[in-house]
């Protein structure tokens, strides 16, 4: 039995160093050398080097001149992510969806039947960086009028930022909200934003 205990302890120590240490160190090295942008979190920086966000992480957009992200059960807190975990029959869930529909109808001047359900349901991690192309089209008139530009210019940017399904069949067509909004600012100008 003493032999078994020794084996157990020694195997644990040896593999802990190999798998916890060496394995991660190797991957970290590969990441830095080959995929440095992805390895640090696909961060997007402004001209002055400050980080504006990550292209993979949703952020909240409330102003009319920006496209909105999908609803987030985590309030877009990328340090504590999560979904709503509401079941399909939960009255609180149905109430939240109802309120989002009413708000969208009012703010975008559209009918409920035009709203893709993605825009009134919370995403899995609360960090979904994408919306469906239809959800961007829906918001285009509002964004254009808030910026005082023809809606066609906004639509052009949506088309330029629509990713089709990968290889034609993997996943869904989608628009990256942060990248689209940054492109809007770059093409059409933005009011400078001060830190709170």
């Amino acid at each position: 039995m003493l032999k078994e205990i020794k084996l157990g302890i020694r195997f644990t120590v040896v593999t802990m160093v190999l798998l916890g240490g060496a394995y991660h160190a190797l991957l970290w090295g590969i990441g830095r050398a080959v995929f440095s942008a992805q390895a640090e979190g696909s961060l997007i920086r402004r001209g002055d080097g400050t980080v504006v966000g990550s292209r993979l992480i949703a952020q909240e957009f409330k102003r009319p001149e920006y496209f909105r992200s999908r609803p987030s059960a985590a309030a877009y807190n990328a340090a504590s992510t999560g979904g709503s975990n509401y079941g399909p029959s939960n009255p609180d869930h149905l109430k939240a969806v109802r309120e989002r529909i009413d708000a969208t109808v009012k703010e975008d001047g559209v009918q409920a039947s035009q709203i893709p359900s993605e825009m009134v349901t919370a995403s899995g991690a609360g960090m979904d960086p994408h919306i469906p192309p239809a959800a961007a089209e829906l918001q285009a008139p509002r964004v254009a009028s808030a910026r005082g530009v023809p809606v066609e210019r906004v639509r052009e940017l949506i088309h330029a930022h629509t990713e089709p399904p990968t290889l034609g069949f993997l996943g869904r067509a989608r628009v990256n909200v942060l990248e689209l909004n940054l492109a809007l600012d770059a093409a059409l100008g933005s009011k400078p934003v001060a830190a709170k």
Partner: protein
Amino acid sequence: MGTEYVAIVVTIAFTIATSALLGGYMYRVFTGQRTWIDPVFVPIERLVVRLTGADPNDQQNWKCYSVSLLVSNVFMWLATWTIVTLQQYWPLNPDGIGNMEPTLAFNTISSLTTNTNLQHYSGETGLSYFSQMFVITFLQFVTAATGIAAAVAIIRGLAGNRLQQLGNFYVDLTRATVRVFLPLSILVSVLLMWQGTPMTFEGAAKALTVEGAEQTIARGVTAGVVSIKQLGTNGGGYFGPNSAHPFENPTPIANVIETWSITIIPMSMVVVLGLMTTRRKLGIVIFATMLAIYLPMVAFGVAKEAGGTPAIAAMGVDQSTGSMEGKEVRFGAGLSALWAVTTTVTSNGSVNSMHDSMTPLGGLMPMIGMWLNNIFGGVGVGFINMLIFVIVAVFVAGMMIGRTPEFLGKKVEAKEMKLASLALLWHPLAILVGTAIACYVWATTADPGTALAWLKNPGSHGFSEMMYEFTSAAANNGSGFEGLGDNTPFWNISTGLVMLLSRYIPIIAPLALAGSLASKPAAPETAGSLSAESGTFGITLWAVIVILGLLMFMPVAVLGPIAEHLALLQ
């Protein structure tokens, strides 16, 4: 929607095709034959075996093999429990994560040691980088390897003739770790980094958003954890929302790689069975039987999630893309449902959508996956669970045609049936009794919503949350209806115990069974023998799995998801 079906078919077909290749490689590894990557990984294997002090010539019978398995797992448990409960004193903690509370640590470490990865903590707030590396990653490798080692020993037993020795546990464990999981994990990690998964020792990034808010973006050594989490049927995510988080699963390509990683080794194990027993037809029959349960579940689950929910439809929005609460746009309803079924039949338990928010009948599919727990199943253990059903099917078929039941030329007698029954019956016992106790506590607590704060959802869905938790613990799965407020002493301790018993009973009993079969003489098979290598036997096995494996869960299915489905229709 059309392209989603293409993606599903391509993903499954690709995994089946590659399992033949990987199964061939694993067969060579465990029978000591050369492979082309040996120059890199064999020296590492030798080094680990030498530093451990194991003697490759020391062949063990089933009892010694089981003792080594248990003792090694005890020390893995103790070492990692000590690390997480003291993690604030260790280095590599840029975000200043505190020590883990002891009952949560009991649950977490039991969960990881049993290859379950039920998570009552959330990675980004509960674990330092050091813990993610030396606790989570370490356990995800070695516990997956433990399952493979046990399965390989059992296969040797089945193939043996008057055999006493099943192999050397530490040699098998090291081979599975170093020569199966390590190369695959490095490959998958690199592919995930290419797609966007972070791999950094820097702390959370601070961003000033477009609208001027501050956003703290948690990141870390994510790529290294996600690969082994998937390949080892562990399932424990780096972040709370697991592979629904865009850092863990950034693109549809990453999603294909990760879905492949869930089933590739469980599928390959069936190939290994066929090759090691030199009965390829047996492997094919079992593989086909598993597919004949897996594929209908995928089709049904996808149809339900793509169909949306009636309550949202009634509000008049465009639900043409299916039920999207808890799901991500880049995957859509189809790839989310495929993942939900795949991760639960295999005992993986990672998620790319929130199972709690699935449609009632769509959400029934993950439950069925875990109730059966043998359709490809966890690495190693899924095959072991299937073996139990094979023994029972042999017994049933033998009774039906009035012959002595035998499997691979070995008589199946009272001793084997007792061991098979023990492994078979523990599973429903743990789930049903556990759920009953939770319901009793809930029902007898005054104002349970405030006092216990367990359930996010009322009514039958709340019942499903509790039942899902015990199902997941007993199946060593690790997914959850995460609306359950599960970080409480009740859930931490009860599910911790269920996970431990549900891991080791269904490993040790089949090891004993294999030891018993191995020592028997293999009688030559005649025209009168019951052949397990036929389509007829596959159909019998299918029926035994569905009837025996699911019938006992019918009442709880009706109380939970089916009741909710009927209520939603009104």
